[in-house]
Point group: C2
Chain length 304, copies 2
């Protein structure tokens, strides 16, 4: 990826903002496009907070790339090295966008979709060069949380994308197979199902489930993955010892996990519980607190 | 909890070591007992690493409590304010221990069991004063990971235990109902089931699943719980908006989660995968890395 060619950001909602700030903070010029002129007009202002957060994390504000608001997809993608697409989760809409990108962007431009709900196999049909398409799913907020989940069919495109995202301080991870929910949202969904079950069964309050996660497994998973944790749980014998001695008890625990339904009563308990936990803080205030804590955690990781 | 009365640590394995170091680092004298004279003889040496880690986290080594190796349960518990029991997960054995503690400890001494696999209801029968018994489940390693999950039947005992654990920098969380796996291990088990499914289905490698967790949801859950995350996922409308608009898609995702079996082939894939991820590092080396990263994360939390 040459430093000189700009990056296109298509779709300027929350995810587009975060990507644009990240690219600019790392010196790339960004060409942003959105079908809504109002969204586009307000875009530069929306970048101020993520850009200042990235400055806190060590990105030199003096080396920032420039922002160009593009009047068309053509203007956004021509001459770019990389397109990050953040359009709504709508297959025909995204496919139409890819057709336009393929017509207007240089032949070697990679097209990375931030899609959360859709898969590469649903998005690629109709493309002239499907090897240019990658799903590159970030985790919110993408300028702070380093994960990017990649899937594509071209080894060369995947390698290029990995090098690019790593140069932005991201942690790209590859899927070997296209999967709905990629990896992280599948894990998050599995955990939340049990978190909802615990509330539905009256085992603990919403805020206490969240506190248990933050001060227990969440903290530990921020430094070591789940598989490796069980490897350590096996002592000197590692995962093999763990599976031999504790595998059956895990299987029993799996069988005891809940399969809650989001009934009206369960929904009410969840809404009531998060409101108690929020204790009057607005969603914006909670986001700001989350970001401040994420920045501290990322700064700690960076320390030698 | 008076600062002057010592704390008894019964059972001096990995969890007992960690608790003893934590109590001593906060100025409490510890009376340690274990049925194995060899374990007891080696106990002081085992405390060196956790004690030095706690010094890194700001506990003054000059204010450390003393360690007494007790020759009997009676010697360990007499005159104590608090007993932390870390015996093997064996109901008759633990019940026999509680009978001995009730006979020898002051009448107001709380008995806190570190049990992971058993419940309060299984442990309390036969006690003269079951209101003195609490399950107080820590998360490994307990001197670093702040979570302690509490269950008991006496409000007064629970409050005393919460004050005590908070004074040690712990984050106690209450269960409203006795539950196998408390909260955190239920969440961890639910997540790992899907992590195993992802490997079993060939969606991603063990190391990539772990990396996705550490750099994505794990990092985010270390600063915000799962319920609150979906509250933010609903935008300004919060959890109510999220459930109304995205509840059905979560329910569909729940239905698509895996129910893997720990077959020989799956076990082999897990063992092979963690060995690749470990890349030659021993379990002890991995533990030391985990602890160093936990200490950095905890230091970051402490920063204003």
């Amino acid at each position: 990826m040459e430093q000189r060619r700009p990056i296109a950001v298509l779709g300027c909602g929350l995810i587009g903002e975060s990507w644009a700030a990240l690219f600019m903070a790392h010196g790339y010029d960004v060409r942003a496009w959105d079908p809504s002129p109002e969204v586009l007009a307000g875009f530069a202002a929306k970048l101020e907070r993520p850009l200042s957060q990235l400055a806190e994390l060590g990105c030199d504000p003096g080396a920032r790339g420039r922002l160009l608001l593009a009047g068309s997809v053509r203007e956004a993608v021509s001459g770019t090295a990389f397109v990050q697409e953040n359009a709504p989760e709508n297959i025909p809409l995204k496919r139409a966008l890819y057709a336009e990108i393929e017509a207007e962007a240089p032949a070697d431009t990679l097209i990375a979709s931030s899609t959360s709900a859709l898969t590469w196999s649903e998005l690629s049909p109709g493309m002239c060069s499907p090897e240019r398409l990658l799903t590159a799913h970030p985790f919110n907020p993408p300028h702070l949380v380093p994960l990017v989940e990649l899937y594509g069919i071209s080894e060369r495109s995947l390698e290029q994308a990995e090098i690019f995202y790593r140069s932005l301080g991201r942690k790209p991870v590859r899927l070997k197979k296209d999967a709905v929910g990629h990896i992280a949202n599948r894990l998050a969904s599995a955990l939340w199902r049990e978190a909802v079950h615990i509330v539905a069964e009256g085992i603990a309050e919403v805020g206490d489930v969240d506190a248990a996660l933050m001060h227990g497994p969440g903290l530990r998973w921020s430094v070591m993955g789940a598989h490796m944790t069980y490897h350590l749980g096996g002592g000197q014998g590692g995962m093999a010892h763990y599976l031999r001695h504790l595998g059956p008890s895990q299987a029993r625990r799996w069988a005891s996990l809940g399969t809650p339904q989001l009934t009206e009563a369960v929904c009410e308990a969840l809404i009531h519980g998060v409101n108690e936990e929020a204790a009057g803080r607005s969603v914006s205030e909670l986001e700001a607190e989350r970001d401040a804590l994420l920045i501290k955690a990322l700064q700690a990781r960076g320390r030698g």
